[in-house]
Symmetry: C2
Subunit: 251 residues, 2 copies
């Protein structure tokens, strides 16, 4: 038996997220179905990030075990022949049998895209959040500064999540502006449920002047979800990549 890691890119628009669930089709389910057919044995896939419905990925990581003799690196090519156009394996390779995509030390990078102009651009509608309210990027950057580092992000945790601790470490948080597109890029070792989308929603509220940048410090201190901004819509969010410290490849 061997363990294979795959790096998966997908357009989340038509999926109910990553994880198998009863009410709709998911990325995990489609991968398991096609891998089982390809390798001619039942295959279970374990993902690094259980992205929500409508969230995209350029490189989510996942592993599965197989007795197949197909070399790990060849699986990407063979699987892409079978997958629907909105899921594409970027890489496949064998990893140690004890490699676990969630417990292994790693860093994830997400991007949240905002289109900030008078009218929407149709070709970007599934991959960015549109708002015509002018956003002050300098204020958003100032607010973002307060979120970098280790903090209790309880105010930025979606309800319904069960976690031992709400302390997380945001190692990078930058805001880039290219013309009328604003990209919030967040890196960290781990994130709470909806955390990136709540950060994006909160920074947008700062950007449109609803509260001053320094209020973000108060939000952190309140440890109360109600003090933070709205959860920004899923379509703007993309999991850019997962970097494992045991494996110095960045996707």
């Amino acid at each position: 038996m061997k363990r294979v890691m795959i790096v998966v890119a997908y357009d989340g628009t038509n999926y109910c997220g990553w994880q198998v669930q009863p009410n709709g089709i998911t990325i995990q389910e489609v991968l398991e179905r096609h891998l089982s057919e390809l390798l001619k044995e039942p295959v279970s896939v374990l993902g690094a990030s259980r992205t929500d419905a409508g969230v995209h990925a350029l490189g989510n990581a996942a592993v599965f075990d197989t007795n197949s003799r197909m070399p790990g690196e060849k699986i990407s090519y063979a699987l892409n022949q079978r997958l629907p156009e909105d899921i594409r394996i970027q890489e496949s390779k064998e990893v140690p049998l004890d490699f676990h995509p969630r417990y292994q030390k790693s860093e994830k990078t997400y991007e949240y895209r905002i289109l900030n102009r008078r009218f929407p651009i149709p070709t970007e509608r599934f991959y960015s959040y549109f708002t015509y309210v002018p956003l002050d990027v300098e204020k958003m950057r100032e607010a973002a500064e307060h979120l970098i580092g280790e903090h209790d992000f309880k105010s930025f945790c979606g309800t319904g999540a069960q976690v031992k601790t709400t302390v997380r470490n945001v190692t990078g948080l930058t805001i880039q502006k290219n013309g009328d597109e604003i990209i919030i890029r967040v890196t960290g070792m781990g994130f709470l449920y909806n955390m990136v989308r709540i950060i994006a929603g909160t920074l947008m509220e700062v950007g449109c002047g609803k509260y001053p940048p320094v209020y973000v410090k108060e939000i952190l201190e309140a440890r109360d979800r109600k003090t933070a901004g709205n959860t920004a819509p899923a379509r703007g969010l993309t999991l850019v990549g997962v970097r494992y410290f045991s494996d110095e490849t960045r996707y």
Copy 2:
């Protein structure tokens, strides 16, 4: 009566092109239907560029006449409320009654996007053409040089087109490389049927080494469609904008 110009952005994926035709839904048809409902009179729309099925636009120009009292600048807002998400008016304004979007002196800019890497990126599948064959951008640039200026582009004209002359003037043709994305940007006063897609197809054949850059000169001289490359797929093409010389706004 007044004449109103609209600047229209659309995702062409789900349309049979711009112009009304019997076999499927078109951009023109959807605009006419919603404008007629909004202005409470039958409205005919005349577009600057009759883009093909699957081709996108950031700013196609079109005009229509109306007796409505609604101010020209307000029509964009009111129409966007009614249009499907894949069509969005970027601007509307009154123009002289003799303004004609096709006969008025103008310059159009198109972009053809190529994603050149090992595997496709799902979120870009409708907006770029994917090829894993490595393209040499320097060779493509060298070939492009031969196409700039006034030439007989008969070899770059799709069959079935009826035109008085196949002489056209390409005023700009640049090739940009951003990571694994290659963007061919073409500007000209007018284009033949499928001309930009045949230019893109030909430049890709130069890029992958099928023939040397200088062969593009021979293609021009041959005045024979069969000598040029394939018509590149519609999904990679976007009409960026139409600039009228009577109206110094660039979209």
